[in-house]
């Protein structure tokens, strides 16, 4: 949370978030994602990198899938959540 708040101190228009949920307890992860939602409603644009693809896609408008340095898929988050390739590879 401090890391996100520190980033907000420059009053950014675009916030790059790298694995904000990594290593955190599930309740804190929930809080982090509700903060992301709040930031979104205040108009901050967010590019979110996440290991937890399900969680990320549930909170994003769109998504991109990277494989070995190349973009292999992109689309609306809802479509990616239902994409068989994404399901198989990232959603367990």
């Amino acid at each position: 949370m401090l890391a996100i708040a520190r980033a907000l101190m420059s009053r950014p228009k675009l916030l790059l978030l790298d694995e904000p949920s990594l290593g955190l307890a599930p309740t804190i992860v929930g809080e982090i994602f509700s903060i992301i939602q709040t930031l979104h409603t205040t108009g901050v644009t967010i590019l979110l990198v996440e290991q937890n693809a399900t969680l990320a896609l549930h909170h994003a408008d769109r998504g991109y899938v990277l494989e070995a340095g190349q973009l292999t898929l992109s689309g609306n988050a809802a479509d990616l959540l239902n994409d068989d390739r994404v399901k198989q590879a990232y959603l367990g």
């Binding site: 420059s10 916030l15 694995e19 904000p20």
Partner: protein, 139 residues
């Protein structure tokens, strides 16, 4: 994407030594959007963010933010233009106080007087412990 892109990446490649971390990726983020980048470890997600905030240098390709080419800008200039990076592993400076860490986030800003206001607005998403932290200001 319905909004005009705030950030546009065109044909971005990044190398680490002989290893190609990113191979000609194209990506766009519209103003006000939340866009996620997913993929396995080592797929290049972090490298993409590091290229945008100019911690690593693009081998080829362009990064355009707000209509400006920032591919060769320096990292602090990118922060000034309005891009902030919350890095992997969070990189909190643990020998510094919470407040010092926050003030570092405002390092590129000239309007020091406004930072106090930002301090409270940066914390507004974290209502539950905002007052606790701001009370530590006495140090």
């Amino acid at each position: 994407m319905t909004n005009p892109p705030l950030l546009e990446i065109i044909g971005l490649s990044v190398n680490y030594g002989g290893i190609q971390a990113l191979q000609a990726i194209d990506l766009a983020v519209g103003a006000g959007e939340v866009v996620t980048l997913i993929g396995a470890n080592g797929a290049g997600k972090t490298t993409t963010l590091r290229a945008i905030s100019r911690i690593v240098t693009a081998r080829t390709g362009r990064i355009v933010y707000h209509g400006q080419n920032i591919t060769r800008r320096r990292a602090h200039e990118v922060v000034k233009l309005g891009i902030a990076h919350s890095p992997e592993g969070r990189r909190i400076l643990s020998r510094l106080t919470v407040l010092d860490n926050l003030e570092l986030g405002a390092y590129t800003r000239r309007d020091r007087s406004a930072s106090k206001q930002t301090l409270s607005s940066s914390f507004s998403p974290f209502r539950d412990w905002q007052s606790d932290v701001l009370n530590w200001q006495g140090r």
